[in-house]
């Protein structure tokens, strides 16, 4: 005899648990979704909340400028929609959001941590402190210099949380970082279902107890995570966008701790997290000091570049790198300067390439530099963090520009000397005048070296 009732498809539960999703965009068959709604497995929420003030119930945007009212042909009245999270599928007054409240997905508690690396004393201390915080559900800030081995620090904490049956999210403001972290975690946690979520990510099967996502993707979660890890918390656009911050809080359960991991915490974060909820690693894993940037004046570099001439000092620096066969990164403050400069630099060496944020071949070009197929790259700040290239040397042209904040400069300087075989390197700030931010960046690096080597 055939069973005539309706059984909850596990895929439905696995997908919807923890998510706040547009009803009509569910990847689940409509029939099953309707059955589940009929059985009260979902909370149904209106897309836009009108009272007490306009608010998008998905991204929690409440800036009236970011809403548009129009004559809707579907509900035949005036409809409001949110432009802030439009790219994830439009949320309007007449759309419904669904939040799972049915039975919870099965969370395996057996997870394998396949990592055999060794922690330094400082790393060990930081993970222990972090673990302690997670156990008592206390938020925590890990302040670790560039190249301290921040990702490895997370392994024991994530492993502990997974074995406790907790759902973990590692959120970062940049897609590049998600793409870099995902394969590493996949290797270290071979038995765990991990999903990587970013704009344009493919559909992934099953219930992921560990999710790596861009902070943008957190709009689509609600009270989902028991441990929230925010990597590179200071990176653009997280610092600028208040709604992204709210998204982090919305995506986790009320009592879930947030772990911030960064090399350049803001003063606010430093004030907020002290004593037992603060870990500091002032030294790199390979026990060598951080390269300290040096200043070199490059007056009127912009004019010269626009005239098609490489300023003498910069030319000399680049030629030195080419003759010594050291890979190099040259940071430029504007996309238009990158476009102008690339052809002039190619006169020095025809393989020098340029990257910027909208470059579809960004990943390939960075890979080429890593594989020593090209001698160097010209770039905007897009490569300021998250990339590791053996023996790379760095020049920041126009270090006085306002986009180079002290944390951006620290991150850029942090690209150099990450490999144990090449623990030192040149970081030069070519400038048209010295700014407070430049001094602050250098002072912070020197301070970390001082602390790190006086312990």
């Amino acid at each position: 005899m055939k069973y005539k009732g309706w059984l909850l498809p596990p895929a439905l539960r696995d997908f919807h648990e923890g998510r706040i999703w547009l009803r009509e965009h569910s990847p689940i068959a409509e029939q099953d979704l309707n059955q589940a709604i009929e059985r009260n497995y979902f909370n149904i929420i209106e897309g836009i909340q009108q009272t007490p003030h306009l608010k998008c119930n998905r991204c929690h945007n409440d800036n009236p400028q970011q809403f548009t009212t129009f004559d809707c042909s579907k509900c035949r009245q005036l409809c409001v929609y949110c432009r802030h999270c439009l790219a994830m599928g439009r949320v309007s007054s007449c759309t419904q959001l669904v939040v799972w409240r049915g039975p919870r997905a099965i969370r395996p508690t057996r997870h394998l941590l396949a990592w055999t690396g060794q922690f330094t004393e400082l790393q060990q201390q930081a993970t222990d402190e972090m673990l302690e915080s997670v156990k008592v559900k206390r938020s925590h800030l890990v302040h670790a210099v560039c190249g301290a081995g921040k990702t490895e620090l997370l392994f024991p904490v994530v492993h502990f949380a997974l074995q406790e049956g907790l759902r973990v999210c590692i959120a970062t403001p940049r897609t590049d970082v998600v793409l870099e972290l995902f394969p590493r975690f996949h290797k270290v946690f071979p038995r765990t279902t991990i999903h990587a979520l970013y704009g344009g990510a493919p559909q992934q099967q099953g219930y992921a107890q560990l999710i790596m996502a861009t902070t943008h993707q957190l709009y689509r979660f609600e009270q989902a995570f028991d441990v929230m890890i925010v990597d590179e918390a200071d990176a653009f656009p997280y610092i600028f966008d208040e709604t992204l911050k709210r998204a982090v809080h919305k995506a986790k359960t009320a009592e879930a701790p947030i772990l911030f991991v960064t090399a350049t915490p803001s003063q606010k974060l430093l004030n907020q997290y002290q004593n037992s909820s603060y870990s500091f690693i002032p030294k790199r894993y390979h026990n060598h000091p951080l390269p300290v940037p040096r200043y070199s004046s490059l007056w009127g570099y912009e004019k010269k570049l626009k005239k098609g001439v490489i300023p003498l000092k910069l030319k000399k620096w680049t030629e030195d790198r080419l003759t010594q066969k050291e890979p190099f990164l040259i940071f430029l403050p504007k996309v238009e300067l990158v476009d102008i400069a690339v052809s002039i630099f190619q006169a020095l060496h025809s393989d020098i390439l340029a990257v910027h944020a909208e470059d579809p071949e960004r990943k390939e070009k960075v890979l080429k530099l890593r594989n020593e197929e090209i001698p160097g790259l010209l770039t905007t700040t897009i490569l300021e963090r998250g990339i590791t290239i053996k023996n790379v040397q760095v020049a920041v042209v126009g270090a006085e520009s306002s986009i180079y904040t002290s944390s951006a400069l620290i991150q850029i300087a942090g690209r150099v000397g990450r490999n144990i075989a090449f623990a030192d390197g040149d970081v030069v700030f070519f400038h048209h005048g010295i700014t407070v931010e430049m001094d602050e960046a250098r002072a912070k690096i020197q301070y970390n070296n001082k602390i790190g080597f006086s312990l």
Binding site: T68, F70, S73, L86, G89, R90
Partner: protein, 196 residues
């Protein structure tokens, strides 16, 4: 829809509007996209279209029609108004199939005209919910009539202007023109936002 934009509708940059005698003394719409975004659109050389299809236009159509960002109807309101303000013949936007319109929640052609404050009339209705973009050139040229007259409308012996978003093979406009001419129109001109 009538609120003043403070940020570019396309790239969300803060708009810096410089008041000029022209904007103060004439009825110009305030800008709603930034200069950088505006410069990405390419004007069409033909007199029957405003723009040439390019990457910027592709992104625009994607956001406007596929992501249903109705606010983008305002982007071309000044250009459309300049084009149509001295138009004496009635303007007919190409209609959408009612089911399609319900799905998209708005008629993109009508919204463009509404945003530019241009009066229009409707005499036609779409008979099929199929889209032209899903067909290849041969299939498009062979399609049976896409439109019919709305019930109980009369077509006068005068000139009409059809308005569509994009012209590729011209099938849509040809079908609509034929229906109107058969019903007794004197002449039918067509105008598109984009030259495909």
């Amino acid at each position: 829809m009538n609120k003043k934009e403070t940020h570019c509708l396309l790239c969300a940059q803060l708009l810096q509007s410089e008041p000029s005698w022209k904007t103060l003394l004439t009825k110009q719409f305030p800008p709603c996209i930034c200069k950088k975004c505006a410069s990405r659109f390419e004007h069409a050389p033909s007199p029957t279209a405003l723009y040439q299809y390019n990457d910027a236009m592709k992104d625009y159509l994607h956001q406007y029609k596929f992501l249903q960002d109705v606010a983008l109807a305002k982007v071309f309101r000044q250009e459309l108004q300049d084009q149509f303000k001295h138009e004496k013949s009635p303007i007919i936007p190409i209609p959408m199939h009612p089911l399609k319109q319900k799905e998209r929640t708005f008629s993109h052609m009508e919204e463009l005209l509404k945003a530019a404050k241009i009066p229009y009339i409707q005499l036609l209705e779409k008979t099929t919910a199929e889209t032209q973009s899903s067909k290849n050139r041969e299939e498009r040229l062979q399609t049976a009539s896409l439109f019919q007259l709305l019930p109980s409308v009369t077509v006068a012996y005068k000139e009409y202007v059809l308005f569509d978003d994009i012209q590729t093979t011209g099938t849509t406009l040809r079908h609509a023109t034929e229906i109107l001419l058969q019903a007794g129109a004197k002449n039918v001109r067509s105008f598109t936002l984009i030259n495909g």
